[in-house]
């Protein structure tokens, strides 16, 4: 990657000499190491790919190009492509230009995950999970190292390294009533994962419970939401309404609600990408802006929205450092880096033990069809488990929930002290009261 960094300045200067008023370069070197046992078959992978996106402005016209050829010649071809696109495009009166920051920052880490230790961890987990009545679909490991470089014609030069590795497993249990819904779990960490015992313990527990399949019936009960289920409703129903683009376009249902107490007073939501020990540590966003912790909801009051440079400029405000990019398709947006709900004091076991009748929701099927504007959703809680007298007693079939994200966040009662790191999140389990479960069987 070093050779790329050395030519960025030259590419920017050449762009300016060819008529580009602004040049912005965003590139990534992505290394992945994976090891997977899929239906008993082993595959393993070690790969490194690299690519860079170049964006140019010519007045209010702009163009973008991506190349996998990051040699000087390759970048110059991409530059020339971006300039010709900008020239062919019509003016965009609201184009605020490329991010105009000029910070210099370098955090290069030489990280390497060991494929052989990973393979041992996966094989141990696979062998332990394999039992007569189970179909272990996959057990997999993946370690990724992502080196990002950002440069622009204002002098910014940022190089960061983000990394982490994770272990996942997915299985179903054959019962006299047929196959159970898929049971899964995962762990992620920055440290090389060699110990899968916690994952094994949890999967063994859930698989044992899935041996008993219980048809759902209509009921209104307290529910425990796994961090993954929480993240899916936040992603599809809550975050779209606090992003700068929705606020600028006035499509956010929260437009007039900032500063108001609109959720449960027990609920505090924040985004904190600054913790170096977590996999979601992101020191700079994709505009080249230093990130910081942002409180989004505090004790039920909606406080902050999140912004990238583009939408913040159009709104005449400061970015909050929440730009994201996928340079291959040229996607640019606003998103959290590491959303969290303030942890509680009691464990998951403590919360379950106090429920006389309820449902433990591992994930939500169909959450992606949540209406991003109204936050309304109609989903299957699948897999979900039935709680009776303080214990999980079996796996529920056909449990559906029709509600809204705002209703769920209003009924939020308590978070656990346990938490899980995941994609763009570090979340606890949550006790959500009075959720209506409708049977689909």
């Amino acid at each position: 990657m070093i050779e790329v960094i050395d030519v960025l300045d030259k590419v920017i200067k050449l762009g300016e000499s060819l008529g580009a008023e602004e040049v912005f370069i965003y590139g990534k070197e992505h290394t992945v190491m994976s090891y997977e046992i899929l239906v008993g078959n082993i595959s393993s992978r070690i790969s490194t790919t690299v690519g860079a996106q170049i964006i140019v402005s010519i007045g209010k016209r702009h163009g973008s190009s991506y190349t996998t050829d990051v040699s000087e010649e390759g970048l110059l071809r991409a530059l020339s492509d971006a300039i010709s696109i900008a020239r062919a495009s019509s003016e965009d009166p609201e184009w605020p230009g490329v991010p105009n920051f000029s910070e210099k920052y370098e955090e290069v880490k030489d990280v390497e995950y060991d494929i052989e230790s990973a393979s041992r961890a996966v094989q141990e987990l696979y062998k332990s999970l394999l039992k007569d009545n189970r179909l272990v679909y996959n057990v997999g490991y993946e370690g990724t190292i992502e080196k990002t470089f950002i440069a622009n014609s204002y002098g910014a030069e940022i190089i960061t390294t983000e990394y982490g590795n994770g272990l996942t497993a997915y299985l179903s249990v054959q019962t006299s009533q047929g196959a159970s819904p898929g049971i899964w779990d995962y762990i992620v960490s920055k440290e090389q994962i060699v110990d899968s015992s916690a994952l094994l313990e949890n999967l063994e527990f859930l698989a044992k419970k899935a041996e008993s399949l219980i048809k759902a019936r209509d009921m209104t009960v307290p529910t425990i939401w796994h961090p993954s289920a929480l993240m899916s409703i936040l992603t599809y129903g809550f975050l779209p309404a606090i992003k700068g683009d929705a606020i600028h376009k006035k499509s956010s249902r929260y437009l007039e609600k900032f500063g108001e107490n609109i959720f449960s007073k027990s609920l505090t939501i924040y985004d904190d990408p600054t913790r170096k020990d977590l996999v979601n540590y992101v020191p700079y966003d994709a505009d080249g802006v230093r990130t910081k912790r942002i409180d989004i909801v505090k004790a039920g009051t909606l406080i902050n929205s999140i912004w990238n440079y583009h939408w913040a400029s159009l709104e005449g405000r400061e970015t909050t450092g929440h730009a994201t990019r996928n340079p291959r398709p040229g996607e640019y947006g606003v998103n959290v880096h590491n959303i969290s709900i303030e942890f509680g004091r009691r464990s998951l076991d403590d919360l379950i033990s106090e429920i006389s009748e309820g449902v433990y929701i591992l994930s939500l099927q169909g959450a992606h069809s949540t209406n991003p504007e109204s936050g309304r959703f109609s989903v299957m809680a699948n897999p979900a488990f039935y709680i009776k007298d303080g214990e999980i007693v079996g796996c529920l079939l056909g449990a559906s929930i029709t509600s809204s994200v705002d209703d769920v966040l209003n009924k939020f009662k308590e978070a656990t002290s346990d938490y899980k790191e995941g994609f763009r999140s570090t979340l606890p389990w949550a006790l959500i009261d009075n959720i209506r479960i409708s049977s689909r069987v």
């Binding site: 070690i46 790969s47 169909g366």
Partner: protein
């Protein structure tokens, strides 16, 4: 390109590998997005390689975007395969040498023409919005022009064009306090730009989306209850794909609700489902898969019996199944895995109108927005267009949010299939994207819980 791939094979011979497969790809791709009035135009030029080796029963894989690191990629794949011995072996094939051309001539379409198409779609939508309910539009366009190459140590040597065009339109609107969004998606990999320009052109997509949006905003919510429903081809297709098609991908079949059910009756006699790799103009149609196996029509369910499942070479060998040509890789960054192509229910004998006859209080489900299923065949399909049926007549729009259920139970509730047939085109995600078609005739399903 073949010269580079051959260099890898020659180097691999020295390592004592059991099998070497090298895929190379080069393409340019255009992504344009028109969000309300604002256009962003992005072009990609990519060249990359995927190396896959089999050593002592384990796959080792590596990919690189740097041609001079191709031999290093092979060494990495070898190192990965050596991490532990396994049991993988491959179904034998007769190696093929071929060169498949599509001739879509995407390079002949100017940037201005593409931008004009997007602007025309937006203008048509706003023109048809007589009630002024549209709040925002997003039109996305993508095209790809390129070639992929495969060469293996067994002698396979095939190159294909990878050209296609695709567009996606999203319209959101508001009526009082109710907000709603609707979508339309269309892609084509055999006829090209004219499909988006003419066959599914701006006027047509605008008409469809305004109808859907008004229906969703003005439709009355369905009372919770049990209904007889008629399902239109687009939604039949997503059920065929999500709830049944994924279950017959051999890497999933043996872990899911269809485990050990090959040859068993899983549906009434009148149910026939196929995945056709050579469907004329199918979005998922290709002549060879990404392991160099010829594609074909796979009879998944024949007269209600689970007859065949979709395979790649690895799973065909593991479970002693026939090859179907369903190994697909999104591009050079991914390994080929088992994916559907064009999946659909075959038509029945009823006319479409006959399906509605005798339904006193039912729902006509026309279009979907997102589908998902799991290994138990439990599925969730978001609905973006539906109507009430009263005494056999299609009435006003109905708002139902989603249809959910267990597909293997649903199959037994399908009591009639119409003699029509239609398809939708889309993108399937299973860790990587695949272009697919899915469809079927109108079907009638009895006793479905909604609301």
């Amino acid at each position: 390109m073949f010269d580079s791939l051959e260099r890898v094979l020659k180097h691999g011979e020295k390592l004592g590998l059991d099998y070497i497969e090298v895929r190379g790809e080069e393409f340019t791709m255009t992504n344009i997005e028109l969000v309300d009035e604002h256009i962003s135009y992005h072009r990609r030029s990519e060249r990359g390689f995927f190396v896959r080796v089999l050593y002592k029963g384990s796959w080792g894989q590596s990919c690189t975007t740097t041609e001079k690191k191709l031999l290093e990629a092979l060494e990495q794949a070898y190192k990965a395969a050596k991490a532990s011995p396994g049991t993988v072996s491959l179904k034998e094939i007769k190696p093929i040498k071929d060169n498949v051309r599509k001739g879509l001539k995407i390079g002949n379409i100017s940037p201005e023409e593409k931008i004009e198409l997007l602007r025309d779609i937006r203008t048509s939508i706003l023109d048809k919005d007589k009630k002024g309910l549209v709040k925002s539009t997003k039109v996305r366009y993508r095209d790809k022009e390129g070639r992929k190459y495969i060469m293996t140590s067994e002698g396979t040597e095939i190159s294909h064009d990878t050209d296609y065009v695709w567009r996606y339109v999203w319209v959101s609107g508001k009526l009082g306090e109710k907000s709603q969004g609707v979508r339309d998606e269309r892609g084509d990999s055999w006829r090209g730009f004219k499909v988006l320009e003419v066959e599914y052109g701006p006027e047509k997509v605008a008409e469809i989306l305004i109808r859907r949006l008004y229906g969703q905003l003005e439709g009355k919510a369905v009372r919770p209850g049990t209904y007889d429903i008629v399902v239109a081809p687009e939604v039949v297709g997503v059920i065929a794909h999500e709830a049944l098609g994924h279950l017959v991908e051999a890497d999933l079949t043996m872990s899911g609700a269809l485990a050990n059910k090959l040859g068993e009756k899983i549906a009434p006699d009148h149910i026939n489902i196929v995945d056709d790799g050579r469907l004329e103009n199918g979005f998922g149609t290709e002549i060879y898969d990404d392991e160099g196996v010829p594609t074909r029509r796979v009879e998944i369910v024949k007269n209600g019996v689970l007859t065949e499942v979709l395979t790649n070479r690895e799973y065909a060998q593991k479970f002693n199944l026939k090859l179907t040509g369903n190994a697909r890789a999104e591009d050079y960054m991914y390994p080929p895995i088992i994916r559907m192509r064009n999946t659909f229910f075959l038509p029945g004998d009823y006319s479409r109108d006959e399906l509605f006859e005798g339904i006193r209080d039912g729902i006509y489900v026309v279009s979907f927005i997102g589908g998902q299923a799991d290994l138990s065949s439990s599925f969730h399909v978001g609905v973006q267009e539906a109507y009430y049926i009263k005494n056999g007549e299609i009435m006003g729009p109905a708002y139902i949010g989603a249809i959910t259920g267990v597909a293997l139970e649903w199959l037994w509730k399908i009591d009639a299939l119409a003699n029509d047939l239609d398809f939708e085109t889309g993108r399937c995600g299973k860790g990587q994207e695949a272009l697919v078609s899915s469809g079927g005739p109108h079907i009638r399903v009895r006793g479905i819980k909604l609301g």
